[in-house]
Symmetry: C2
Subunit: 169 residues, 2 copies
């Protein structure tokens, strides 16, 4: 079962909101989906060309890319494909698992660093949440993805505290 690219989905999704250039697609993804998704130019432009050839997006000369009706159908189709779970690869846990070799100081540094990173990420999320209106139906979807980040961040902090206790750090 070959792993299928999700870039198509991300790009069509972005264009479903409004027409934009490839450059802006990337900027929007970075700004809006940044805490759970990334795309690089090396992926975006070839995919955009593929989508154009397939008739899912189009571009009038000098205009930004826009999604076509068939592109919107394609988007809905992709949205309904079940998210294939990516084989997990957690570099932090891989190191901590070999904590005996790493030593207490290394473990402690690993936890400290992670805590810093998570707190920084939560700090980035807070102002975004503050700007979102929970009553606006259009913004609710962004709110729930944001909330997922917060839940996982807090879970990581809980786990770090617990782990420090367990390892006596």
């Amino acid at each position: 079962m070959p792993r299928t690219s999700q870039t198509e989905l991300a790009i069509l999704g972005a264009l479903s909101i409004e027409p934009m250039s490839g450059y802006r697609v990337r900027a929007e993804i970075l700004a809006t989906l940044g805490h759970f998704w990334t795309e690089s130019f090396g992926q975006i432009y070839p995919t955009l060309a593929k989508l154009e050839e397939a008739g899912f997006v189009e571009r009038e000369a000098g205009e930004p890319f826009s999604i076509t009706p068939s592109g919107r159908r394609r988007l809905r189709e992709l949205l309904r494909t079940p998210p294939e779970p990516i084989p997990p690869r957690n570099a932090l846990l891989l190191r901590l698992f070999f904590g005996k070799e790493l030593g207490p100081a290394g473990c402690r540094e690993l936890l400290d660093r992670t805590e810093r990173d998570v707190r920084a990420q939560l700090a980035e999320l807070a102002p975004i949440r503050a700007r979102l209106d929970p009553e606006d139906p259009d913004e609710r979807y962004q709110l729930v993805t944001l909330s997922a980040g917060e839940h996982h961040g807090r879970a990581t902090l809980d786990w770090i505290a617990e782990t420090r206790g367990l390892l006596g750090l």
Copy 2:
């Protein structure tokens, strides 16, 4: 900054516990690190050959691979390299973010499926936890990685409940 392979680290880590064949390295990783790490044969054998050439592992004819002193030094060195954060790619959130296009039924199914998956994963973790002895210093590291999985699983369940409420599903 080229993304560096962590396969070396995983393999040296496995061999730091006891000598074993490439086949068993894979089996052990699957059984023990399975909930946060994966390795495929297509990665393991070439990496093992590379490690052998570099003198980090060795193999007497007919014997399993074993880690050398310089391999153990290498392992500690790799353990101390800070875990480079993988660009996040959460296929579930990507779909949910475009929930307006996906529709309520699609969102609901997405959440249901995720809940099922997470519960299944937690159910796999429970018996492992039951077998671990929190007093054994050697098993504490496994315990904390296991606990990380539990924390994140529970966080996901919390988030799902919250999200159902928010989206009225």
